[in-house]
């Protein structure tokens, strides 16, 4: 089932799958399949921030890329403003991308070191032919100021900025085309703690002021909980739990979510951990466990968990969990 968040979502994802071939057999034919995303569905409402949290191999990054069709999904549908993104031709896709942008984790890797800020941000305006040449400079300066940088920085190169400032430039570039939807893929993970808070606050402010809709992807549950209205917890390509942020924190239902929350170290030496210590490693997505993918590490798994793939069932209003034991 799909846990509905309300009417007329901006983004609808239905039974999305992305399988990658890996290994090279004869003539580089793939010898195995990684099920990076294995059938996930969710909606994001207008103006909503959907958090997406998961560990390595959960498929969270692939979800962000598939939604923007930066990778071609294997099957399933992504509907953006009622339009099927998968069915668009290149021209249509380009037009749609004006409305959907991405902010990457590593600003060092996503900014061309040979381009000045003017070119980095101006490129987006060129591609989508926004504004006349004369208007551009003013627009770029506005954007820089919007993300808390001085307009004087317009002719500087990326290396002249600190990591936090570079991430602000990455955000300004995403905002240049005035999108209504942004995928933020681990946007603060590479930043120092003191700078991370600045960028989180900036993203919250921009989201509120511009009425942005956002898919905020991160491995840090505390960061996600802080910025999101609702949260999806993924594990090995599947949704384990989806819930409003408050409800997820206050009343986690899935054993994986509970373990994940208990594993987060608290900055409080007096905090007594009732830690659920998971056994073993995250299995390889090449050969995921049968039935429930979490069962090999789950403290409450039983024999039936190996047989049945659990559906997401509603445990509270707007709160779904994919666990047989929740029934």
């Amino acid at each position: 089932m799909i846990v509905e968040g309300g009417a007329q979502p901006l983004l609808q994802v239905r039974n999305l799958k992305k399988h990658f071939g890996v290994g090279s057999g004869l003539f580089h034919r793939p010898t195995a399949v990684v099920k990076a995303i294995d059938g996930i569905s969710f909606d994001i409402q207008r103006g909503e921030v959907m958090g997406l949290v998961g560990e390595s191999g959960s498929g969270k990054t692939t979800v962000g890329r598939s939604v923007l069709r930066l990778v071609e999904p294997t099957s399933g549908e992504v509907m953006f403003k009622g339009q099927n993104i998968g069915a668009l031709d290149p021209k249509g896709l380009r037009a749609a991308r004006r409305d959907m942008q991405i902010v990457f984790q590593d600003p060092d890797a996503s900014l061309n070191p040979r381009e000045k800020v003017r070119q980095v941000i101006g490129r987006a305006l060129d591609i989508h032919t926004i504004g006349t040449r004369g208007e551009r400079e003013g627009r770029i300066i506005d954007l820089l100021e919007k993300v808390g940088l001085s307009g004087d920085y317009i002719d500087r190169y990326p290396h002249e900025f600190s990591g936090g400032q570079r991430q602000r430039i990455g955000i300004a570039r995403a905002l240049a085309v005035e999108p209504s939807f942004i995928v933020a893929d681990e946007p603060v993970s590479a930043l120092d703690v003191s700078v991370q808070a600045q960028v989180i606050n900036l993203m919250s402010d921009l989201q509120r002021d511009l009425g942005l809709t956002m898919l905020f992807i991160a491995h840090d549950l505390a960061v996600v909980e802080h910025i999101s209205n609702r949260i999806i917890v993924m594990y090995l390509g599947k949704i384990m739990e989806i819930a409003p942020a408050k409800s997820l924190y206050g009343n986690p239902q899935h054993p994986y979510t509970k373990a994940l929350m208990s594993a987060v170290p608290r900055p409080d030496p007096t905090h007594k951990h009732n830690r659920i210590l998971l056994q073993g490693d995250i299995p390889s997505p090449i050969n995921p466990p049968s039935g429930c993918v979490f069962r090999t590490r789950c403290p409450i798994a039983t024999a039936e968990c190996a047989q049945i793939v659990p559906d997401i069932i509603q445990v509270a209003p707007g709160h779904g969990s994919a666990c047989l034991k929740n029934g």
Partner: protein, 337 residues
């Protein structure tokens, strides 16, 4: 007993400088750093990038890059023995046997062309005068100790055949194979997923209790600090800016940087309460502000702060802060009960 109260490691007035850029000008990556570690205790050194926390640990281990880095002054005493004047050979005798180090990314510290078992056995043969066969047997024991399943099979694995968490366990097994008195762990869980991090932290605490070793734990993560540390040194721009017990640091921080850092971390359950960010960024070591190095970002900065560098001043027993205004400010952290 006299021996027990003597610190295991005593660093005093350590200044380490690095050559930078083309002109070869030297800058102090670490300046006048002093701390001590007692047998069996865990000292966390916490700081952001450029704070000097990793350079401090490399200086202690004698692992500074020979061409660019050097200890300019200060002393590092391990069991009362001065390390900074030891030659490489003598240092190698101590490293690995009496003090070991684990790094953030185990892949860079493991040799990709030898099996895990061979690499651990090599350390044991070198330091414990055991035969290779006996050493390999000990390697199996060590892998078992760090919770690697089927250790007898695993010793035949190459590093690339293991997951990140497994490699970090193998690194820990290697570091602990000679039961060192001191383990220096430099961001040992930063590259790991949070559920795996929880396992590795638990393992380190458990092993520490079992073999009674001391730990210097270097991290940027205040959550991890709260979990492992008995005492804490907070570093900023190459200096220790506050030091005290974990409770002192988290409950009653006296340096505005420590307090601001604690407030800027998102905590589970804080909902959408706005984070208190620290403005600006960590200044590069070549362009430090005059006076207190934190003053340009500090919410409590006053005229006096530009007048000169504040000293690390005792607040109470074992708790010191580098701030002119530490006594008059009240920076209690409400989030810690």
């Amino acid at each position: 007993m006299q021996v027990e109260t003597m610190p295991l490691l005593e660093v005093s007035g350590l200044t380490t400088c690095f050559k930078t850029g083309l002109d070869g000008r030297e800058i102090n990556a670490v300046e006048n750093v002093s701390f001590s570690v007692r047998p069996g205790e865990t000292l966390a050194i916490v700081g952001e990038s450029g704070s000097g926390k990793s350079v401090t640990s490399l200086s202690v281990m004698g692992l500074l890059p020979a061409r660019t880095g050097r200890i300019a002054s200060g002393s590092v005493k391990f069991r009362g023995r001065e390390l900074t004047t030891l030659d490489n050979q003598a240092m190698r005798g101590i490293r690995g046997r009496e003090m070991s180090m684990i790094f953030q990314e185990p892949m860079t510290s493991l040799n990709p062309v030898y099996t895990i078992g061979h690499q651990i056995a090599e350390v044991i043969v070198l330091h414990q005068k055991l035969g290779y066969k006996a050493a390999l047997e000990k390697a199996v024991e060590m892998l078992d100790l760090v919770g690697i399943p089927e250790p007898r099979k695993r010793i035949q694995n190459y590093p690339h055949q293991m997951s990140g968490g497994m490699r970090q366990r193998a690194m820990i097994a290697m570091a602990l194979s000679c039961e060192p008195a001191l383990l220096i762990a430099d961001e040992p869980t930063t590259a790991l997923d949070v559920t795996i991090q929880a396992q590795v932290l638990e393992l380190l605490k458990d092993l520490q209790a079992r073999i009674g070793m001391a730990m210097v734990f270097i991290t940027h993560d205040l959550g991890v600090v709260a979990e492992v540390a008995d005492r804490v040194c907070v570093m900023y721009a190459g200096q220790i800016v506050e030091t005290g017990s974990a409770i002192d640091i988290f409950k009653a921080p006296a340096m505005p940087y420590t307090s601001a850092l604690l407030k800027s971390v998102p905590r589970l359950g804080m909902g959408d309460t706005r984070l208190t960010a620290i403005p600006g960024y960590v200044p590069p070591l070549s362009r430090l502000p005059k006076g207190c190095r934190f003053r340009t970002r500090c919410a409590h900065s006053a005229e006096i702060c530009a007048s000169g560098q504040p000293d690390l001043v005792d607040m109470s027993s074992g708790h010191a802060a580098r701030c002119f205004r530490a006594q008059e400010l009240s920076l209690r952290n409400e989030a810690v009960a």
